[in-house]
């Protein structure tokens, strides 16, 4: 009896379209734009130090709060530093802080949420109540608590900031991924894995995580956008990045008093941040859609 079902024709069609260019062209347009923005930021972050007209820390390159001119593309700030140079040279710091901290938060929160949602019962209840408590503390207050607990010698260091952001964001991400896990555990493929007697980690890794990537990616994009603002807010309280480091959030808060007289000093870093957030979101959104074949639609 020869009823073997052949699917050769289909595969043939697929291989033809394997060329890299045609594959890129098939990607969602939003994702390509997002990727373009991110590549641009990465380029600026890596090379910025070499082609900026001034050093970010050079005081008195012009009068304070100068208007944009050919000499100072985006004007100057309160100390007469060149805003354009500062924004460009701050890119690597912002990318480093935002991405590492949110990545860390996503890993911790994602694992906690998935495991908690899968295990359920008593463990889930305790874990989620703790998460609720952490979420209920306003994040600035929580950040202040953590930084002051860490002691003065660590204050202002990047490692501490990354840890603080991760600690603040992880519970929020855990909540999201737990909701996904709760939905997934009732699916038959998870039941099938349970009847095989697979371990918790194996189920979380092989069955749950691949289906939660969409949600996690979108969450990552949104959180990474907030991270620099959070850093800026901490900086405003004197607990974030120390001046004169050209971190955008810090720049926004430093130049805030002059928002009317020299709007560019505030808007330039804000705009840079906004475009980064848009780029990140377009990219992660596209990724989530590209990975589309999940049990859960984002």
């Amino acid at each position: 009896m020869d009823t073997t079902i052949s699917s050769k024709n289909v595969t043939a069609k697929k291989t033809r379209a394997f060329g890299l260019l045609s594959r890129i062209r098939r990607l969602p347009r939003g994702m390509l734009i997002g990727a373009g923005i991110l590549v641009f930021y990465l380029f600026v972050a890596l090379t910025g130090d070499y082609w900026t007209p001034y050093d970010y820390n050079q005081v008195g390159t012009g009068k304070p709060f100068e208007k944009p001119s050919s000499e100072h593309l985006l004007g100057t700030d309160q100390l007469g530093r060149d805003v354009f140079s500062r924004v460009v040279e701050g890119t690597d710091i912002v990318l480093y802080l935002a991405l590492t901290s949110t990545l860390l938060a996503t890993i911790i929160g994602g694992v906690l949420g998935l495991v908690s949602g899968f295990v359920g019962g008593w463990f889930d209840q305790v874990a989620m109540r703790v998460v609720d408590i952490v979420i209920s503390i306003p994040f600035l207050v929580l950040g202040l608590l953590l930084i002051s607990a860490a002691g003065p010698e660590l204050a202002g260091s990047f490692q501490l900031l990354i840890f603080v952001i991760a600690f603040v964001y992880a519970p929020r991400i855990a909540r999201m991924t737990r909701a996904v896990a709760i939905d997934l555990v009732t699916r038959d493929f998870v039941t099938a894995a349970r009847t095989r007697g697979e371990s918790i980690w194996s189920i979380v890794w092989h069955e749950l995580l691949p289906n939660a990537t969409g949600v996690i990616l979108v969450e990552l994009g949104v959180r990474a956008g907030y991270a620099p603002i959070f850093v800026g807010a901490l900086g405003f309280l004197g607990l974030g990045v120390r001046p004169p480091i050209p971190e955008w959030g810090l720049m926004i808060s430093e130049n805030r008093p002059a928002i009317v007289s020299a709007p560019m000093a505030v808007f330039a870093p804000a705009l840079a941040l906004a475009v980064l957030v848009i780029g990140l979101n377009l990219f992660t959104d596209g990724m989530a859609r590209l990975l589309g074949r999940t049990a859960i639609n984002v």
Binding site: D188, T195, G197
Partner: protein, 699 residues
């Protein structure tokens, strides 16, 4: 003027103009950056008073046709050619406002899934009055309410006033479908489009709904357009049938003629694929081969790749419907060469696999279940507030022999699936004895089981869409149990996966694919391969066929039987479909409300004496043969009278209930033969007579 007969009623096809006419319709869908033709050159006419059936596999364009008939264009669809004429208007050209006046008032729809079709936050009665008020069929709320109550009575809903005030989730599936039917009938439409109205329902409920439709049709003379994949249903209710394949009609004929002499090879295969209760033998060579693949259609006849009569011309040139007899049209170049169906069907040697089972009592049992009680709810482990678990299965006993297929049948909610879940250790409360291989105790929960038990008992789920991880490739899905139980890796693993794919008759090209690139039947094959990977001795099959098309069902059924013959695996086969059971099972247990009411070999259970419930289930199956009319007796028989659970669980629905004894005393097991027993207060000798009396009295 032509005349044809369906069942008992004579219908005359008048020379009047059709009520609705589709002309040369082309529909395209936007799929992966391209317009794909879903329906091509569809023309059909429906005349006033007839019930026109449209059958075909899933994905052939049935529901798209229904949409066109309502003038509805779904998102990502476009009508590139053709027209739909209704009352001298082209529905596809009307404005949205004009269409809204027609929809619900003149043409109405009974959608597939009543649960999603009713708005969950609105009382059922109001949803129907809303339709009436919107179309100004009733002038105020009071009048609308009266009309709604009247409609509820017409669709045989008991206590219309109570139903009016209820929310959809408070109604049973059958009641919801009745309410939806009432909504469709609300404004006295000329045409009712029924899109698989009974697909999600139990056989008994389906029989009741079909009965209701027949009654409504004779009372109000409604024209119906009935879409279904179930050939049994169309045979029972339709007067004329069109068979659709890949967006084209391949055959149109009056019901009698279509079933007695189908001309198109596809129609023949489709009819032969349906498992029958009365003729259990399978016709191997008549079964449809392969699958409907939209991406592999030749420029000519879409069925050509699967057709055994295929000719060069078929591949090149598309054929059109051609009249072969009165009212009978076929779209096939070679219809003259296709042998007559009856000859093929009866001359064909039925293939029976040798699967003899020694049922003697001293035979070693693979699985022995005694007084199994299963419940959900509290496990009662050291909690402050112990709630008694709600019992789903209440004391059932059966056994399974090595290499045997034991089927559990019953309606939804009878506890069949719960039994299978208990055997895999997934139920929180399991009491009683489950003895596996005389060595293991299967009442243990899954996390306490040894690898040996986990491996030996495998589960195949109802819906392959949900049971395969959408983010894993086929190789990983099948590979996981191999890694888990046999610690295979590398080349060895690959060879085993390929061997398993071969076992389920899929070629190597499936190795790297994702489930969403497969059809339903292929997915179920992958699910079977995954279960086989563990080399089980007991395979629990939970409604493995119900999510599949008839032709695919027949092939999967073949596959399961063949695998059993080769690998000597025992199946616990759970299904609601008694016709399927007849083809695969050695023994059957009939379950009602958590208890077994009949147990025996297949041929014994399907013949008298049988339990009143078994009899009711058997009578409710629509046979794909218009000559075998279902008895019209279900209107009052078999409706649940109370929610009380009596000593005999079936007492509340039993048509031959004796009286108080059924409510208060547990019925005794009556032994019909060494292998056959049933549980009833009525002595075995009296049962068949009493039952036939009842059917006669109500029909």
């Amino acid at each position: 003027m032509s005349e044809y007969i369906t069942g008992n009623s004579k219908t005359v096809l008048p020379d009047v103009s059709p009520l609705i006419e589709i002309q040369e319709l082309d529909v395209e869908y936007w799929q992966q950056q391209d317009w794909v033709k879903v329906i091509e050159g569809l023309s059909l006419q429906i005349f006033p008073g007839e019930t026109f059936g449209l059958v075909g596999e899933s994905g052939c364009g049935k529901s798209t046709t229904a949409n066109a008939m309502l003038g509805f264009r779904p998102r990502a669809a476009r009508y590139t050619r053709g027209s739909v004429w209704f009352e001298n208007k082209d529905l596809l050209k009307l404005t949205e406002a004009e269409k809204q006046k027609i929809r619900g008032a003149k043409i109405s729809l009974v959608p597939q899934n009543p649960t999603t079709a009713l708005s969950p936050g609105m009382r059922v009665g109001r949803q129907i009055s809303e339709t009436l008020l919107y179309h100004r069929y009733c002038k105020d709320r009071k009048e609308a309410r009266e009309r709604t109550l009247e409609l509820f009575k017409q669709v045989s809903l008991k206590n219309p006033e109570k139903i009016f005030e209820k929310y959809p989730h408070q109604l049973s599936g059958g009641q919801q479908q009745r309410a939806i039917t009432a909504m469709a009938l609300a404004c006295n439409p000329k045409l009712v489009v029924l899109d698989e109205p009974t697909t999600g329902l139990d056989v008994t409920t389906q029989a009741q709904i079909l009965d209701l439709l027949v009654e409504l049709r004779s009372r109000f003379g409604i024209t119906m357009f009935y879409i279904t994949h179930n050939l049994g249903v169309v045979a029972q209710i339709c007067t004329r049938i069109a068979v659709m394949y890949a967006g084209r009609l391949v055959e149109v004929a009056p019901t009698e003629e279509l079933f007695s002499s189908p001309r198109h090879p596809y129609t023949q295969g489709l009819i032969a694929s349906v498992p029958r209760v009365s003729k259990p033998s399978r016709k191997q060579s008549l079964l449809l081969r392969g699958l409907l693949r939209r991406d592999e259609l030749p420029p000519g006849c879409p069925f050509a790749p699967r057709c055994e009569f295929v000719h060069e011309r078929c591949l090149q040139e598309a054929q059109v419907l051609e009249t072969v007899a009165d009212n009978h049209q076929v779209a096939c170049w070679r219809w003259k060469d296709v042998p007559i169906f009856r000859d093929r069907f009866y001359r064909d040697v039925a293939i029976e696999y040798e699967r003899p089972i020694n049922l003697s009592p001293d035979q070693q049992r693979l699985l022995e279940v005694k007084n199994l009680v299963i419940g959900y709810g509290s496990t009662g482990k050291g909690r402050f507030f112990k709630k008694p678990p709600s019992i789903i299965v209440d004391g059932i006993s059966f056994d399974i022999l090595p290499g045997e297929t034991f089927a559990l049948v019953g309606e939804s909610g009878s506890g069949k699936t719960t039994v299978a879940r208990a055997l895999t250790g997934l139920t929180p409360y399991t009491k009683g004895e489950i003895d596996f291989l005389n060595a293991y105790d299967l009442t243990q929960p899954v996390d306490k089981r040894t690898d040996e038990i986990l491996r030996s008992v495998q589960f195949i789920f109802q819906n392959p869409d949900a049971s395969l991880n959408p983010r894993q490739r086929v190789s990983k899905i099948i590979g996981r149990p191999l890694q888990r139980f046999f610690s295979l890796s590398g080349k060895e693993l690959r060879i085993r996966i390929e061997k398993l794919l071969e076992d389920v008759r899929l070629d190597q090209s499936y190795y790297n694919r994702y489930p969403d690139e497969l059809s339903g039947g292929e997915r179920q094959r992958i699910a079977i391969a995954r279960a086989l990977a563990a080399e089980p001795t007991l395979l629990l099959c939970d409604e493995v066929l119900s999510a599949l098309d008839v032709s695919v069902q027949a092939n999967i059924l073949e596959l399961l039987i063949e695998l059993q013959t080769r690998k000597k695996i025992a199946y616990l086969f759970i299904t609601h479909d008694l016709a399927v059971v007849r083809s695969i099972a050695h023994r059957v247990g009939v379950m009602y409300w958590g208890a077994l009411c009949e147990l025996g070999r297949v041929d014994e259970v399907y013949n008298a004496p049988s339990h009143p419930y078994t009899e009711m289930l058997l009578k409710a199956i629509p046979e794909p043969d218009p000559a075998q009319q279902m008895p019209h007796m279900r209107k009052d028989v078999g409706l649940i009278v109370t929610d009380m659970k009596y000593a005999c669980p079936f007492a509340a629905r039993c048509p031959v209930k004796l009286g108080v004894i059924c409510e208060q005393q547990e019925p005794p097991w009556r032994i019909a033969s060494e292998t056959h027993m049933l549980r009833c207060h009525i002595p075995l000798e009296e049962l068949p007579d009493r039952l036939s009396e009842v059917w006669q009295a109500v029909s």
